[in-house]
Symmetry: C2
Subunit: 352 residues, 2 copies
Amino acid sequence: MVMIGRRVVARMAVVWKKGMPSRNRGIHTFKDGEKCHFLMSPPLVSLDLPETWGSNSNYYDPQSIPKYSSEHLAATIDGKSIAEEIRSRITSEVCRMKEIIGEVPGLAVILVGQRRDSQTYVRNKIKACEEAGIKSLMTELPENCKEEEVINAVSSFNEDPSIHGILVQLPLPQHLDEEKILNSVKLEKDVDGFHPLNMGNLAMRGKEPLFISCTPKGCVELLIRSGVEIMGKNAVVIGRSNIVGLPTSLLLQRHHATVSIVNAFTKNPEQITCEADIVIAATGVPNLVRGHWLKPGAVVIDVGTCPIEDPSSEFGYRLTGDVCYEEAVRVASAITPVPGGVGPMTIAMLLF
Amino acid sequence: MVMIGRRVVARMAVVWKKGMPSRNRGIHTFKDGEKCHFLMSPPLVSLDLPETWGSNSNYYDPQSIPKYSSEHLAATIDGKSIAEEIRSRITSEVCRMKEIIGEVPGLAVILVGQRRDSQTYVRNKIKACEEAGIKSLMTELPENCKEEEVINAVSSFNEDPSIHGILVQLPLPQHLDEEKILNSVKLEKDVDGFHPLNMGNLAMRGKEPLFISCTPKGCVELLIRSGVEIMGKNAVVIGRSNIVGLPTSLLLQRHHATVSIVNAFTKNPEQITCEADIVIAATGVPNLVRGHWLKPGAVVIDVGTCPIEDPSSEFGYRLTGDVCYEEAVRVASAITPVPGGVGPMTIAMLLF
């Protein structure tokens, strides 16, 4: 309540501070020089600290894998074939939809700049749409385009009734205000589910989000389709990004799992993960999750896909997950491979 | 994506189903009678199951308290005196605000019906406002009023520039659409922080909610003011209501705690709570959390306030928390009493 008045006062303080030496600018004071105590206590909403994970990758040596049972090997959760099954079903649905209502869904993608990874992702999405019979449109804008141009592109798709979903490929070039651009996407076309209103509706009991981000949806779909019971299970989500970790933890809670969210500040994360029936790793740190982090029989979903130099591979690198697969496969009951696990599901869930 | 088209098809199916025998209404089929498989898989967003907690209260017998160390007693986190300190600071702030900008914050409360507990809560809030010099207005509506009347009351406060926060006292009578009414409160006056956009902004990194629900804010403020470090600590939130459990878990994550959320479906919740440095209980089940649920030295915040019959008490009942205080005080390092813990903080944080 008083916060609102406080904002007015704080604005006044800021106006005044302009005349002050810069070293004092951090201190909120009134014109009479008296300290403004109510702004001095630790911030209640806390600071947005960077998520810097300690990496295990330097220490991982395939020769040093602890001796797990050589008999036991986890089942593979085959994201590629599950995704294909979903996509083929979607293709029939789209076909049927065309027959019944004479229309197909339409996806618009906006790509800014020349990033090769973004180009690949966009190409794969468009290809998946084409294969499923979904209409897709793409707007490409140059790296140095103005914010206004991107927002205009979004607006024209917002108004286009044949477009049902709009994707702005991230990351955007640094000079563009990502939040402003994402917020300009109409809520009912926010196919990525990144809008805070969608996230709030995902978090709150009794509410329904219009869209849920594709990767979390893919992770939970992999569990469901592999026959993994979620309700009442202990699930740990490692990582808390807005795109994967957060919505995954919220979605698992909707499925009545007991969810723990491990972040980069967690001390001894393995003490928490080793109690979990389901572990979902989404940190981007290769091989962070070692075999001893897991409870025997746990189900492991690995969202990480980090390119690691490998002269023996065809392209000089291989994709590595957050989970040390060679160790985990000897402890877990089921695990997603990288590649071929969560990756293909993300695109399938975009179409879903 | 296809979901949108699916909604159109589903609507068509519903229209058609009206002519079907009611026993078939749960099955989504097309006009040709062919089953619509894409609607048959387990719902991804899951079902909204009731949160029914097993109660320990029947089994709690003060004579049966296990023998904990008689020397150790947890420090009391005195919510009453911390709240008084905050309220007195707010009073000075409001006074200063009046001097500087010639205005004070204004709170509007809408009370529908004659519930005695709601009347008490509202009276306490209005009294707290008066004591702090905050302007307060109240609209009382009869139990049987129309939804339109409540929304009109909200709208007029929405338009009133002297009102900065609007509280609709819950629960509302059953014939009123709570969600619709709460959503009619202007976002920038949603002092309860119940709007999904506020919740989404609380959940997402890099975003800021305009308001945070008062009780979660009170819990975290109690920790901060008691010198409890939150960052890197294991925190367990027991309960996941939209009003307390959910925003508390999100707020603790903003403070970089490793948060686990225990719900009514959690098997052996004590296995999770007994690893926690901070336990926040918000279930409404008296004495659910026993001494052996806690790690020695844990900090315990008890949000529960359940009236329990007690002929020896002045009013024939006493307020009981979710935590079995007599046991917990011998294990924890610090604990909030009930009453006098979180309760007074809720009102203080409303003014904050």
